[in-house]
């Protein structure tokens, strides 16, 4: 198994950049911590179904997708503005 660092690093960076723009509490729906846990589990299912895209040699899960998802959540927690 050979893990490619490229998609993990740049997936995290792109996710952080976009996650910084998520702001909750602006609409009449309320997303709680539980909602984000559900989104994360759904994301893991999508990443699993994507297979080992894009390099076909590393983990049996899409590392780029997973890194982007983690990046978005971390970016939301660290940099997100509240309105």
């Amino acid at each position: 198994m050979m893990l490619s660092l490229g998609p993990i690093i740049f997936g995290l960076i792109l996710g952080l950049v976009i996650g910084s723009q998520i702001k909750l509490g602006v609409s009449d729906t309320h997303f709680t911590l539980g909602s984000f846990v559900v989104i994360f589990i759904a994301g893991i299912v999508v990443a699993w179904q994507s297979g080992n895209y894009p390099f076909y040699t590393d983990l049996p899960i899409s590392t780029a997708f997973l890194a982007a998802l983690i990046g978005i959540f971390v970016g939301k927690l660290l940099f997100a503005r509240s309105k």
């Binding site: 050979m2 490229g6 740049f10 723009q21 602006v26 989104i39 894009p54 390099f55």
Partner: protein
């Protein structure tokens, strides 16, 4: 402008986040699989567009500010041009792939700096994909944000 039902409002943010992740995945696999900067950027923009259409402008959890759009658009364009100029000055051709160096004219140190960390020997192509993806992402999003804003102005003036 918001016209979504409660079901739409509950499901749109999760779908938007997953669409954006799929877009990032498409960008990062662009050098060896179908897809790339433009396609991935359009997928990411579709996440933002879905969110703005359902929640409405000014009320959307995923909304890009003016400064953010400006900065990402500039970073995308400048990054592409700078990578092209690096190729021009180091290799002699505009957008020469200094990370792979097919013609063996680039010093090994520079080649190592621009080598993308993966098993394929793609050089600067993934970086160009990322810059193009960022530019397309904010470009398409800003078009929809502008249209939604115009509609809001027209509705207010009537």
């Amino acid at each position: 402008m918001s016209q979504g039902s409660m079901i739409l409002k509950l499901i749109s943010l999760p779908i938007s986040i997953i669409l954006i992740c799929l877009g990032i995945m498409t960008i990062l696999g662009g050098h060896i699989t179908p897809g790339g900067g433009f396609q991935g950027g359009a997928m990411m923009a579709s996440g933002i567009i879905l969110s703005i259409l359902v929640y409405g402008l000014g009320n959307s959890p995923l909304e890009l500010s003016h400064t953010y759009i400006e900065v990402l658009e500039s970073v995308g364009a400048l990054g592409f041009v700078i990578f092209g100029l690096i190729g021009l000055f180091v290799g002699g051709f505009y957008l020469y792939n200094v990370g792979t160096d097919v013609l063996n004219i680039v010093p090994a140190a520079i080649q190592n700096v621009f080598h993308y960390p993966d098993v394929t020997n793609a050089g600067i192509i993934p970086y160009l994909n990322i810059f193009v993806g960022l530019k397309v992402f904010v470009g398409l999003s800003s078009i929809v944000i502008a249209f939604a804003g115009f509609k809001k102005i027209v509705e207010e003036s009537e």
